[in-house]
């Protein structure tokens, strides 16, 4: 059970600092970005270890502010580049890398590309950033896709006019491919190795072209992607097959701002929305086989799964692509105690979940049932 920590700033993004895969540690540090304030800030918080001084047994300590730094403009997206560096895109169109110095517990600006996203005579807000260290890809309201390299002065590549409408989010599909979503409900696949400025694939819904605001890739199966948009519907797509989403599920009653697959336990998915709710989706695979054999674990199965048709061998395909939610057992739970203002962002790692709201509150849950 988590309680709110009020921080006097509307939180637009929260992200856990990555933990090394070898250690079984739970994450203890997260960063937040604020928006809609005269002085916006990028802040780093710690939830501390349960065994540290000052915390009673079983008591969930409040997040403590470690350090913060002023940020020019709203923080519209934030990602950890590595253990020490954080990348943000701003409403002024600037892309900034902050460095968190662990010894002195301070944050400073390490590199900045001001006005990376821009209009000829105006600022264009950047809207999304994705990292695959040392490469950084950002998208913005100007419809540009820009590729940077950390520690590299200039811009590596710009795809001008990648989209005639606003690109709202970007994610890496493979190390050389990125996926973007826009205001016309289209997913576009971009191959960064190609030099032409057109997408290698375009997928969209038929029917109403609802703007999409968030996208996330399945951690193990790179062809499965989940998106959410203005109507609050959760769509799961198979990028290899056709141009239509595989399943559509009614999730929220207002815009869905973020969707995340759990990084180590992808049967769990989390979404948060403008309607103030945070949902935890849990799917149980229909097959009886133990989970370590699923998802293309053994080699004999992978060869089959590559060509598996829709609705084929259920034990191979991910439970997310079953198409009919009633066939696979899909459970949804609300994770926040009561209705709040919009939940703008969430992040989940291990058993810890952090989210930020427009009510200027941060919620941390350290015992997510995954």
């Amino acid at each position: 059970m988590e309680s709110a920590k009020y921080v006097s700033l509307k939180i637009s993004k929260t992200r856990w600092r990555p933990v090394s895969h070898s250690s079984l540690q739970q994450p203890d540090i997260f960063a937040t970005g604020s928006w809609d304030n005269e002085d916006n800030k990028v802040s780093v918080w710690s939830i501390g270890d349960p065994g540290s001084l000052g915390l009673e047994d079983g008591f969930e300590g409040d997040p403590q502010l470690i350090c913060e730094h002023k940020h020019d403009g709203d923080v519209l997206d934030l990602q950890f580049l590595d253990q020490e560096r954080i990348v943000t895109v701003s409403s002024t169109g600037a892309v900034t890398i902050f460095r968190h110095h662990q010894n002195s517990q301070t944050v400073s600006v390490s590199q900045q590309w001001p006005r990376a996203h821009r209009y000829p005579c105006d600022d264009a807000p950047g809207t999304g950033v994705a990292c695959s260290s040392p490469e950084i890809v950002t998208v913005g309201e100007d419809g540009r896709i820009i590729v940077f390299r950390a520690d590299h002065e200039g811009v590596v590549r710009v795809i001008e006019n990648a989209d005639s409408s606003t690109l709202h989010a970007v994610t890496y599909l493979r190390t050389t491919e990125v996926l973007t979503v826009n205001s016309f409900g289209q997913l576009k696949l971009w191959d960064l190795r190609q030099q032409n400025n057109s997408p290698s694939q375009v997928l969209s819904l038929s029917g109403d072209r609802v703007p999409l605001y968030c996208v996330d890739r399945h951690p193990n199966q790179q062809h499965i992607v989940a998106t959410g948009g203005q109507d609050g519907m959760l769509c799961v797509w198979d990028v290899r097959q056709g141009s239509m989403p595989f399943s559509l599920m009614e999730a929220h009653s207002a815009e869905m701002w973020e969707v995340h697959f759990h990084p180590t336990n992808p049967d769990h998915l989390f979404t948060c929305s403008e309607d103030g709710s945070l949902l935890h989706w849990e799917t149980a695979s229909p097959s009886e086989r133990p989970s370590f054999l699923q998802g293309g674990g053994s080699s004999s199965m992978t060869s089959r799964s590559a060509m598996a048709p829709a609705g084929g061998n259920q034990s191979i395909m991910s439970a997310w692509l079953c198409g009919d939610p009633s066939k696979s057992r899909l459970e949804t739970t609300h994770m926040l105690p009561s209705q709040t203002l919009s939940v703008n962002s969430l992040d989940v790692l291990g058993q810890c979940l952090v989210c930020g709201t427009d009510g200027e509150a941060i919620f941390v849950n350290r015992q997510v049932p995954v």
Partner: protein
Amino acid sequence: MEEVDVNPTVTNIPAIRHGKHMGFAWGPEDILVYETQFKASGPSLSGPGGSFIHKVRKDEDIHSPILRKLFNESHHIFVGLQTIKEDVPSKSKKPQFVSISRNYRSVIRACMEELQQVAVSTKDTEMATQYGNQVSILLAIELIWNLCEVLFIDAAPAGSLLLHLLDWVRLHNADADEKAKDVLQSDSPAEHHHYWDVVVSYVLQGRLEEARQMLAKQATRQPASRNMYKLMDGLLSKMPFYNPGGTQTLTEFDVKWRNWHEEVDRYLKDNSFSSNYHLELICKILVGDEDALLEQKELLSTWYHFLITRLLYCHPTVKPIELHYYAQSCLTMFLDSRSVQEPLDSILLAAFEFDIYLVIKDCSIVLNNWWFVAHLTDLLDHCKLLHSHNLNFGSNMREFLLIEYASGLFTHHSLWQCAVDYFDHCPELGRACLELQIERVPLDTERKALKVLRICEDRQMSEQVRSICKIMAMRALRNNRLGSALSWSIRAKDAAFATLISERFLQDYCTKGTFSDLDLIDNLGPAMLLSDRLTFLGKYREFHKLYGEKRFKEAAKLLLSLMTAKIAPRSFWMTLLTDALPLLEQKEVIFSADQTYELMYCLEELTSSLDTAAPGADSPMQEQDVEQTKVELLRLSLARNLAMAIVKEGTVDT
């Protein structure tokens, strides 16, 4: 007009030179002030005055980061309060209201503690004083709220009333506990110079158990006076306290109390404690001797403490309606000629008199923002304690205060989102106010516009939706983001704007020869139907696609339908007919005879309208020539096609 109760404060504008006249303009929560050239006497100079505009804000609290937490948390509690069901009778809701009141108070206390910590740790003396002021204001607010909770919301009857009031006083008098801590931590508590202060404070607050424990320490030190201490201990232990949950009625308790009181009086008159000054003092207090109590002014520190102690030891069965007599007299007795009645005192007095309106009015005047009165009035209204006291402007007091508070929040760059919920719960004027305010929220990013739109759409404010979408669409158009502009007009279902955007696309096509933003036009989907022009654009693009795929028959059919169904704008017909030329010139007959007749009809319609339109002197001869040539070419091709079509259709395959 009523007299102003408080003298208005004077604020100096440092940057405006002394003696200059100021001009001003009212804003929603502030005043804009500027220097003018006006002179009271003599001619005014012309030319610019100072080049700055100064913004004078009354409410600084809203911009304090710590107090912001107060606004957010109380917003959460407020929304929860509004959703309590109406059909349940008020009586069973009382514990709920009391708990909500306690929530509000705990939020105030948390804020206060944080401010206190910051005030202590900051090195800037000006900030420290500011924080200190805020802490004392919050202390006062919590004091008043607590008293209102006891008197109005909990509304305890005689008997329990005093117990609640005792709790109230104990909560707001931390001095005794601090001194007690010092005393107990010292080596020999009984010899500490504050020892007797602590004992007397306990007795004044009715904490007799603790007083007895403290006295026991002294008793062991003075074995000679053992009997006296034992006697005092006995008296203290026998004092009856009313038990609301018990079987004893109020009258029975009263009788018991009077007996005890008489006993204590007897011992006092017998001079049983005369050898020990302190014990005699305690005895006098127990008997309720006013002079003895007044001597303890320093320990009591406030007149309301004096009031409660006096009631405890003179009239423990005081009824709520009797409170104000005692309150007034205690206040007068406590304040000597030197000290003046402060606003806080009059507010508390008004509360004891059960004059809710006076309490709220005085608080509104003294405090610089509406937070406290708005939330308290709302809670009292839910407890059905406010009669419909209609104000001149048609709404009731609760709504008036909530709207004032919310309007103040709306001017804040960030807290406007909280304000929306407050307007929602003002049935009469809330919606109108929200409609006015929401349009004026500055929209820097698409994300903010989306949130504002969601607020408007949820409340069916279609005018505001249209207006906001139009602003965003115009901005996108200005930055040449046609796709974004189109998506905004689709959201607003704004056909006129969609037409405008399609015109832009078509213009682009005419000038460049190709379509820009093909990804958009190809994927319009059902949005195409929003405006005729948009439909035309989509269909025209489809024609090009069909042509590119060499599906000529279908392309031809589509082209024709675009003109005959009048989807295409007249100005574009020439282009369409020109597009038909290559189809007409094909070896294979694509247009059937009927279709050709229709094309000819369209051409005639077009040329006749062009002819009837006054040939402008400004259209150069060259253009007219070009037009003429085009028309002739078309006529020729159409005639040839007609011939071939008739022949083809007339031929019978053998």
